[in-house]
């Protein structure tokens, strides 16, 4: 298989495009952030997401613009990369979004998207893996902006969300976010969610083509399987979605990833990690996020992270942060 450079991954291109629009020296900024995307093929996910976070922090600092994440890339296809064919041939917005959810690791290895429908509403929730540093909120802004502009571009209609739920405190100029999203923005949300009308998700895509959709789905599935180094990424993505359902089990994970437990263990060992290590890492990252961006009590966080017993969370918290959950809660 030919090598794939991270600089060619869709979302990296879109980010660089957004920075360039603000007159930033993109190469210098990425170098300062410690992101060498041209040699980043096998980069550790934690280092990669920290590099992106640092890049966005620098972009905010250099432009003095906390709303830089609301920048629209010059072309939505820049961020879709290999998924361009899939979304353009999908029959409607829902199918296109589901394809993006299934194959997001092909265009953005650090993000996961989940969805649910309730009544006449559709909720698109976005998670970004954090490493040692928190994820800047501009990264959530950017993903959400790109997704909404992508829907506009695909359908030819401006789809305005009903509500945009944004983690973190309200910015100094909240009106800029309301204007950009065209809807009410709830700040301080526990996670980033775009709430939309179900009828907007049913909007058709005029370039739909079932034959092309089938072919592209097959290729995307093949590419996803070829991403030999991505098993740990996929495990992390699944963990982020399912931790709240209880203590994660390796056999369940293997089943979700359509592989045997032994294969999962072998692939993770080849990647220098283990299922237990990944569970611990994801729990630490999510705990950090909950402490920083939510008002959840330590007990609520205990269960959100899938711990069956608060005493286990207490011990883990002391090990991760050197502090108890209640101290962490107070200090954030």
């Amino acid at each position: 298989m030919k090598p794939m450079l991270m600089s060619d991954v869709g979302w990296c291109k879109a980010m660089k495009d957004a920075f360039a629009q603000h007159g930033l020296d993109v190469d210098a900024l990425l170098a300062e952030a410690g992101l060498d995307l041209d040699t980043a093929e096998e980069i550790d996910l934690g280092e990669l997401t920290d590099g992106f976070s640092r890049a966005w922090e620098l972009a905010v600092a250099k432009t003095g613009n906390p709303a830089i994440g609301l920048t629209v890339p010059s072309h939505p296809l820049n961020s879709l990369g290999v998924l361009s064919h899939v979304v353009l041939s999908a029959s409607n917005v829902r199918d296109a979004l589901q394809a993006i959810m299934r194959f997001i690791h092909l265009i953005s290895p650090t993000a996961t998207i989940d969805s649910k429908a309730e009544g006449d509403r559709f909720f698109l929730s976005l998670q970004i893996a954090s490493g040692k540093r928190p994820v800047p909120l501009q990264r959530y802004d950017f993903y959400s902006t790109v997704l909404l502009r992508g829907i506009h571009w695909l359908t030819g209609r401006r789809v305005v969300p009903l509500v945009f739920h944004r983690p973190g405190p309200a910015p100094a100029e909240p009106a800029r976010w309301r204007e950009a999203f065209g809807c009410n923005v709830v700040f301080g949300a526990p996670e980033c969610v775009i709430e939309m009308a179900l009828q907007d998700i049913a909007l058709p895509i005029p370039t739909a083509d079932q034959a092309v959709a089938d072919l592209c789905e097959r290729i995307a599935t093949q590419l996803a399987e070829q991403q030999g180094g991505s098993v740990s990424i996929r495990v992390r993505q699944v963990l982020m979605k399912h931790l709240s359902k209880g203590d994660p089990r390796r056999e369940t994970m293997a089943s979700i990833l359509c592989m045997s437990e032994r294969t999962l263990q072998r692939r993770l060992t080849e990647e220098g990690t283990s299922f237990a290590e990944l569970v611990d890492e994801v729990r630490r990252e999510m705990a950090q996020r909950y402490f920083q961006h939510s008002q959840f009590s330590p007990t609520e966080i205990t269960f959100a992270l899938g711990f069956s017993d608060p005493s286990n969370f207490y011990r883990a918290c002391k090990r991760w942060f050197g502090r108890s959950p209640s101290t962490m809660r107070c200090s954030n």
């Binding site: 030919k2 064919h85 005029p206 370039t207 092309v212 290729i219 070829q226």
Partner: protein
């Protein structure tokens, strides 16, 4: 001769329909009617694709007065060969995509699209079941691996593209899908 006469006869018959009759038979006679149809919610894709124009001038009017609807005109089954040929060189890539997936394209338009600068468009030509042997031949040396392999497989195994061997795309990688730009 009969094949030539019948469309003309049908054309005359359409001109004579009353407005009520036209609505009932899914025929539009002006650009505004098509614009309203596309704007309706929920969007009725099947109707947008199948609605017929009372005369081809309606499509030219739509393109002139509502240029953003070009992609929907390209997907309409009654758009003429001339309209589709015009849209095959449209500046908007999505419109060219819709044309490349259309049935009833002229050989000239098909070849035009087979040489489109955008991989996404050429992929549609490679996948269109009505693509001619000539147009597929134009794609066998395509710079995009997927387009090239698909065209080669159709020419070698099954011109319609419905019964291709499962292994012909086995060695595709991410780099082969570097479409963008």
């Amino acid at each position: 001769m009969q094949a030539l006469v019948r469309p003309l006869a049908e054309h005359d018959a359409l001109q004579q329909l009353t407005p009520m009759r036209r609505a009932a038979t899914n025929i539009i006679d002006n650009a505004e009617a098509f614009e309203r149809l596309v704007a309706e919610l929920p969007v009725d894709v099947a109707r947008i694709k199948s609605v017929a124009a009372a005369r081809q001038q309606v499509w030219w009017d739509v393109l002139e007065r509502y240029p953003h609807l070009a992609v929907w005109v390209a997907g309409n089954r009654s758009a003429s060969v001339e309209v589709l040929a015009h849209l095959a060189v449209h500046g908007d890539m999505q419109t060219r995509l819709a044309v490349a997936s259309a049935a009833g394209l002229s050989e000239e338009a098909m070849l035009q699209l087979a040489h489109d600068h955008d991989d996404l468009v050429r992929m549609r030509v490679a996948c269109n079941p009505q693509t001619s042997r000539n147009a597929l031949s134009a794609l066998v040396d395509d710079p995009c691996t997927v387009v090239r392999k698909h065209a080669q497989a159709r020419l070698a195994h099954d011109l319609s593209g419905t019964a291709l061997p499962p292994s012909y795309l086995d060695d595709i990688s991410m780099v082969d899908l570097h479409l963008l730009h």
